[in-house]
């Protein structure tokens, strides 16, 4: 699914200057963001663990879980992002199994990587 194409013309697009913080680790906020333009940096404990480019999803965990944000997201360059709230997300998941699969593939990939990190930590 081309997420970028789907959200490119969304009305609730926000622009963030380089260095701005979208949300911080431990913060309780909801909503997921889709990166449309630019690069966002995801960091845990002050260390950048991932860079998210156009088409990437950020903060999708908050849509399903009430746990606080597990990472801090900062704009690495000027970024354009679209906010998807819980209601819109539910609607999208229901109407587009393709979208749901995409979101889950992203989460599954993140979980796989987290498991790898866990494995590394266990080896030490």
């Amino acid at each position: 699914m081309d997420v970028l194409e789907h959200f490119r013309r969304a009305r609730n697009m926000v622009t963030m200057p380089r260095g701005a913080v979208l949300f911080s680790e431990g913060e309780r906020s909801s909503g997921m963001y889709v990166v449309i333009q630019g690069r966002a940096e995801i960091s845990v404990g002050g260390k950048v663990v991932e860079t998210a480019g156009p088409g990437a999803l950020i903060g999708e965990m908050a849509l399903v879980s009430s746990a606080p944000r597990s990472a801090t997201v900062t704009a690495g360059t000027e970024c354009k992002l679209v906010l998807v709230d819980v209601r819109q997300f539910d609607l999208l998941v229901r109407e587009s199994p393709e979208f749901a699969r995409h979101v889950m593939a992203v989460i599954a990939e993140r979980l796989r990587r987290t498991n790898e990190r866990l494995k590394e930590a266990l080896r030490r």
Partner: protein
């Protein structure tokens, strides 16, 4: 009016006649557009019938036609289309090759007890669904329940049904129902609710278990007198091998006084599924209805409707495994995911236990979202005897949208819970 071969009814070419009654004739036909076989019920104009009867026939036909497309349940015969014309009126329905339960209603043709319980359980689900749509069937009997060749159960003939939405007093419709299966309140022409169908299904169960009716009489008056006044025999007096548990259930479903009868389909279904669990001690395999019931109680399937849940039962494979069995091994490839039904399994990573999964939990789902060729990232081992349900990812890919959407929502929650948990563990190390 009789249709000859090569003829069509509307756009449907007729294959052959499959049955006829006093008021209608049923044909097997083809739907050329949907490319499927359909059963077409054609209303026969009354021959010398009195105007009252004819009006009744027509009304019943219209009732059934009005349900077209309204009831969509795996255990209710689908009505695809209804055509009411002055020339001819007909209903286009799902074709279910098989027989009605009439074929299993005599002493020599009874089905195994487990099968009867399963059929009744499915009918309960179907009629509960109809009730939730404001519909009371009013003519439940073995002849109106189909058993397909592959063993599926389907409730049919909603012609006598009453829809709350029409706002009519049900007692205004007389002559509806088969006296031997009619509830006392239906005979007394009182206002009816779902309990009348519960009674009729109870009598149906009595018949399927014993091959006999609770009351038999040579006249209508004699029969109605018995239904209203005489206590029914206990099923096991007619078939001594029947477990007492089923005696109780049939007794409660066929209680004359509605206040002593099951008040809701839910209560009836609950008792029946418990009976099933008890009967299983005799060594039966897990029946489909029991599987359904087990899954219905799991939070994982909270977002699944009945239709989607029956589909899950159909596409899944259940197995019992002894303690120590390895279900998934780290590094192996796989093409299925699992849901734990009974027992406990441990999740290990590099031989270190990182989690325990309890009944209702799933595992192995990560590969469902991965590109082909990904490998299992953890090992799953049974810590005691377990019952586990396996679903091939290919089967899920081929399932209906409703089923897939249900799984997507449930998986999303699972994945995120796992991610939260993994992050927490990393933070603690």
């Amino acid at each position: 009016m009789k249709f000859e071969l090569q003829e069509t009814i509307g756009k449907y070419p007729i294959v052959r006649e499959i049955g006829s009654g006093a008021t209608s004739r049923v044909y097997l036909a083809r739907d050329p557009f949907a490319d499927r076989e359909v059963a077409i019920k054609v209303l026969l104009p009354g021959k010398g019938a009195d105007p009252d009867t004819e009006r009744m026939m027509h009304k019943s036909f219209m009732t059934e036609a009005s349900l077209a497309g309204k009831l969509n349940h795996p255990h209710i015969v689908d009505i695809y289309d209804a055509v009411i014309e002055t020339e001819r009126s007909y209903l286009v329905m799902e074709y279910v090759p098989g027989t009605t339960l009439e074929a299993h209603s005599s002493v020599s043709t009874l089905l195994p007890v487990g099968k009867v319980v399963e059929i009744i359980f499915k009918c309960i689900r179907a009629l509960e669904y109809a009730h939730n749509h404001g519909i009371i069937h009013r003519d439940i009997k073995p002849g109106n329940i189909l058993l397909s060749k592959d063993g599926e159960t389907k409730v049919s003939d909603f012609g006598a049904a009453f829809q709350h939405s029409q706002g009519l007093e049900t007692s205004q419709m007389t002559g509806v129902g088969s006296p031997a299966y009619m509830s006392p309140e239906q005979i007394r022409m009182e206002k009816l609710n779902q309990q009348t169908d519960i009674y009729s299904l109870g009598v149906t169960m009595f018949r399927l278990l014993t091959g006999r009716l609770p009351f038999e009489a040579s006249s209508y008056a004699g029969l109605t007198h018995a239904v209203l006044n005489i206590p029914p025999p206990i099923p096991s007096t007619l078939r001594p091998t029947l477990p007492p548990l089923l005696d109780d259930i049939v007794g409660k479903a066929t209680a004359k006084d509605p206040s002593e009868r099951y008040k809701t389909w839910l209560d009836f279904g609950k008792d029946l599924s418990q009976a099933f669990t008890a009967l299983r001690l005799v060594g039966d395999a897990v029946s489909e209805s029991e599987k359904f019931d087990r899954l219905r109680g799991m939070p994982f399937f909270m977002n699944f409707g009945d239709v989607a849940l029956w589909e899950v039962v159909r596409i899944s494979n259940w197995t019992h495994l002894p303690a120590g069995s390895v279900i998934i091994r780290e590094g192996e490839q796989g093409d299925s995911f699992y849901l734990l039904v009974e027992g406990e399994v441990s999740v290990t990573l590099l031989t270190r236990s990182i989690a325990t999964i309890k009944p209702g939990g799933c595992f192995g789902e990560l590969l469902y979202f991965a590109d082909r060729g990904e490998r299992r990232t953890t090992t799953i081992t049974a810590t005691g005897p377990i019952t586990v349900m396996e679903i091939k990812t290919r089967a899920l890919d081929a399932s209906t949208d409703g089923c897939q959407v249900g799984f997507n929502k449930a998986f999303m929650k699972v994945l995120i819970d796992r991610l939260v948990q993994a992050n927490r563990m990393i933070a603690q190390l």
